[in-house]
C-alpha cells in the first residue's frame, strides 16, 4: 500500500468486532473463496461472504441460468450448493486456513431449517473464522406458497428469532432483505426487533427476460434476480430509507451492509454515504475478478479525497448534507 493515502478503513460489524475495511464479496458472486484467491488474497477483504448454504446439497436449477441485461444481469441459480455439512467440512476450513474473515450466508426452505443450518455452523470446528452470519431471508418460504420470507414482516421475524437462538451472542447476525416489497422499512424493523444485529440490503430484484428469437423466457427458471449497476439507485434508496427510519428512532440503529451495483470505490462510497457501514461487491466481480480487492484501494482514495481520515466518518453523511434552498 505504499504511496496510498493514510485512511483508517476499519469498521465495526457489531458485537464489538471490527473489520480492517468495509469491503466484502456478495453472497453467490464469489463462490467459497478458492476461485477468487487465484486473483487476490481473500484475507485482504473486510470479510468474505460465502454462497448461501442450505441444509442439504442442492443441484440448483437447469440452464440457461443467466441473461445479460442493460448494465446488469439476471440469474436463476436456485441456491445450488453442497449443503451445510460439506460446507463446514471443506469450505470453511479452507477459508480459515488462508486467514479470511468469513460472513456465512445461510438459508432454509422453512424457518426451522434456517435454525438447523445455523446450529450445524455454530457447532463446526472452523467457526472461529466466522465474523458473522448473513441470513438470506430473500428466498422462498416453502411453508407459505413459496413466498419470499423477506416479503412479510412476520415470516422474517420468525426466521431471525429462530436463528438468533442458535448463534452465540457475540456473533453478529445480518438479515438480508429483498427490495421487492412495498415498504422495506417495515421488514427492516421486524428483523431488527427479532434480533438481527444488522441488515444487508439489497438482494436482487425479481426480473425476467424473454428471448425475442425464440419468444420464450430466456431463463430455464423463467424469472430471475436482477443485479449489477442498473439496480444501484434502488440499493441507495433502500439504505437511505432504513437509515432515515433508524435516525428517526423507529427502531434501534444497527450497522447496514450495502450491496447492489457496486463496481468502483466511488460506488462503495455512495452506499456508505446513504448509510451503509460495510459494502459488498457482487456482479462487478464477473466483469473484473479483482473487483472486490480493487474497490478497497479505490475507496481508500475516495475517502482521502474528502479529507477525512476515517471511513466511519462518512457513514450516512448524505443525511446531514441536504441543501434545502
Amino acid at each position: 500500500m505504499a504511496g496510498s493515502p493514510r485512511v483508517d478503513l476499519s469498521v465495526p460489524i457489531g458485537a464489538g468486532r471490527v473489520l480492517p475495511n468495509p469491503v466484502m464479496t456478495a453472497s453467490g458472486c464469489a463462490a467459497n473463496g478458492r476461485e477468487l484467491h487465484r486473483f487476490f488474497d481473500v484475507s485482504q477483504l473486510g470479510a468474505f461472504v460465502t454462497k448461501t448454504v442450505m441444509m442439504e446439497p442442492r443441484s440448483g436449477r437447469g440452464t440457461p441460468r443467466m441473461a445479460e441485461t442493460a448494465s446488469g444481469m439476471l440469474n436463476s441459480i436456485g441456491l445450488q450448493g453442497p449443503g451445510i455439512r460439506a460446507f463446514v467440512e471443506q469450505d470453511l476450513p479452507w477459508l480459515k486456513s488462508v486467514g479470511a474473515r468469513v460472513l456465512v450466508s445461510i438459508a432454509g426452505n422453512t424457518a426451522g431449517e434456517f435454525a438447523d443450518v445455523a446450529r450445524v455452523l455454530a457447532d463446526s470446528d472452523a467457526f472461529d473464522c466466522v465474523v458473522g452470519v448473513e441470513v438470506n431471508i430473500s428466498c422462498p418460504n416453502v411453508a407459505n406458497r413459496g413466498l419470499v420470507f423477506a416479503c412479510d414482516p412476520l415470516s422474517s421475524a420468525k426466521v431471525i428469532a429462530l436463528v438468533r437462538e442458535q448463534l452465540p451472542r457475540d456473533v453478529p447476525m445480518f438479515a438480508k432483505l429483498t427490495p421487492d416489497v412495498t415498504d422495506i422499512v417495515s421488514i427492516a424493523d421486524a428483523a431488527v426487533k427479532a434480533g438481527a444485529t444488522g441488515l444487508t440490503m439489497i438482494n436482487t430484484l425479481l426480473g425476467m427476460v424473454i428471448d425475442t428469437d425464440t419468444l420464450r423466457p430466456h431463463l430455464g427458471g423463467i424469472t430471475g434476480g436482477l443485479s449489477g449497476p442498473s439496480i444501484r439507485p434502488v440499493a441507495v434508496r433502500a439504505l437511505w430509507q432504513v437509515t432515515q427510519a433508524m435516525r428517526a428512532g423507529r427502531f434501534q440503529t444497527v450497522p447496514l451492509i450495502g450491496v447492489g451495483g457496486v463496481r468502483t470505490g466511488r460506488d462503495a462510497l455512495e452506499l456508505i454515504a446513504a448509510g451503509a457501514t460495510m459494502v459488498q461487491v457482487g456482479t462487478a466481480t464477473f466483469n473484473d475478478p479483482t473487483a472486490p480487492q480493487r474497490v478497497i484501494g479505490e475507496l481508500e482514495t475516495a475517502v482521502a479525497a474528502h479529507g477525512v481520515d476515517c471511513v466511519t466518518g462518512l457513514v450516512g453523511i448524505a443525511h446531514d448534507r441536504m441543501v434545502i434552498p
Binding site: G3, S4, F39, N75, I77, G83, F286, N287
Partner: protein
C-alpha cells in the same frame, strides 16, 4: 492497491495475479485484427498468458469499453499463443460477430485496449502414448485445434482433422489444417466446400481408417454429442470442449453448469468454466439438453424432489 505493472507495449497485468495461480487479468492491446471468412482473427498482446496456456483453454474478454452497458465478459477458445519477448507474449482468438459484445470486439482496431482474463478452464488432456488422434471442429470450433495438433504431433501422435460448418465461409483454418494435420476432411451443410453433410457423416470412416482411440472436438453441442456417439461406436473416447453461457468464466457464479457424471458415475451440475470446458463426452448427460435448455436429471445430486424446492 499496488499499481499494475506496465509492460513495453503499454499492456498491464494485475499485480495480485501471478503465474503460480495459473490465471491472469491483463490490460491487453490489440496488435492485429483481420477477417478470416465469416470470422475475425484477433492478435492481442497479453503478457504472461502464453506461458500458462494450454490447448483447450479459453480467454474471457471484457467488452464495450468504459461506457459499456454490457458487463459480462465474452469467452473465446485460445487459438494460439506466442511467448515472444518484445511484447511480453501474444494471444490469438477467432471471433464470430454475433451480439453486441462480439460485434464490439470485431470492430476493434490495432492498438485498442482490451481487458483479458486468461487462461481459463481445463485443457484437452493429452494421450500418454503416441496414438492416432482425430480432431473435430465445427465452425469457429476448429480455432483451438491447430495448436492442439501441434502439441499432439510433438508427442508423436498422428493427427486427422475433420472440419465442418454450415457453409464454406464458416469453415475456419482449412489451409492451416493441411499443414497441421496428417489428413483433413471437410464437410459443409450446403456442400459449398468438401463433403455435403455433417462431420458425423464422415467420422465413422475416419475412425475406421485411423483406428484412433481418442477424438477431440470443439463446436456446437449437437455436434459434440454426435462425435461422442460415433467415438463410442468405435471404442474411442471423445474429449469435447463445450460452450455454455457463462457470466463470470472464473468459477464464481454457477451459471455455466451442465449435468456431468463423475468417475463414480454420480451426476452433478458442474461448472463448465472450471471443470470444463473440456469434458469426456461419455460423462455428459446429453439427454438433459433440449432445444437450448438443459434440465437437472432426476438422479443428479441435490436434484429438486417432486413437491420439494
Amino acid at each position: 492497491m499496488t499499481p499494475p505493472t506496465p509492460t513495453t507495449s503499454g499492456a498491464t497485468v494485475s499485480a495480485q495475479t501471478s503465474a503460480r495461480d495459473g490465471v491472469l487479468r491483463v490490460d491487453g492491446e490489440v496488435i492485429a485484427i483481420r477477417r478470416a471468412g465469416a470470422y475475425h482473427h484477433l492478435t492481442i498482446v497479453a503478457p504472461g498468458v502464453a506461458e500458462l496456456a494450454r490447448p483447450g483453454q479459453f480467454a474471457a474478454l471484457a467488452v464495450g469499453g468504459p461506457t459499456t452497458g454490457n458487463l459480462l465478459r465474452r469467452s473465446f477458445s485460445i487459438h494460439k499463443v506466442s511467448p515472444s519477448g518484445t511484447y511480453g507474449g501474444t494471444l490469438d482468438l477467432v471471433i464470430a460477430a454475433k451480439g453486441p459484445g462480439t460485434q464490439w470486439l470485431t470492430e476493434l482496431r490495432a492498438h485498442d485496449a482490451v481487458d483479458v482474463v486468461a487462461p481459463l478452464g481445463r485443457a484437452f488432456p493429452l494421450p500418454t502414448e503416441p496414438v492416432p488422434c482425430i480432431l473435430v471442429g465445427g465452425g469457429y470450433g476448429s480455432a483451438p485445434l491447430f495448436w492442439l495438433a501441434e502439441v499432439l504431433r510433438e508427442r508423436g501422435c498422428p493427427v486427422e482433422m475433420v472440419l465442418g460448418a454450415g457453409s464454406e465461409d464458416r469453415l475456419f483454418g482449412v489451409v492451416e489444417a493441411r499443414r497441421a494435420a496428417d489428413g483433413v476432411t471437410v464437410t459443409t451443410d450446403d456442400g459449398s466446400a468438401g463433403h455435403r453433410g455433417w462431420v458425423s457423416d464422415v467420422l465413422p470412416e475416419v475412425f475406421r481408417r485411423t483406428g484412433a482411440p481418442v477424438a477431440y472436438a470443439c463446436g456446437p453441442m449437437g455436434m459434440l454429442q454426435s462425435v461422442t456417439r460415433v467415438a463410442a461406436e468405435h471404442g474411442a473416447v471423445a474429449q469435447v470442449a463445450v460452450e455454455e453461457a457463462m457470466a463470470c468464466g472464473v468459477g464464481v457464479c454457477m451459471t455455466c453448469v451442465m449435468p456431468v457424471r463423475d468417475k463414480a458415475g454420480v451426476t452433478k451440475m458442474v461448472r463448465s468454466c472450471v471443470e470444463g470446458p473440456v469434458f469426456r463426452g461419455d460423462r455428459v448427460r446429453w439427454e438433459a439438453f433440449h432445444d437450448g435448455v438443459c434440465g437437472v436429471p432426476a438422479d443428479a445430486v441435490g436434484a429438486p424432489q417432486a413437491g420439494g424446492h
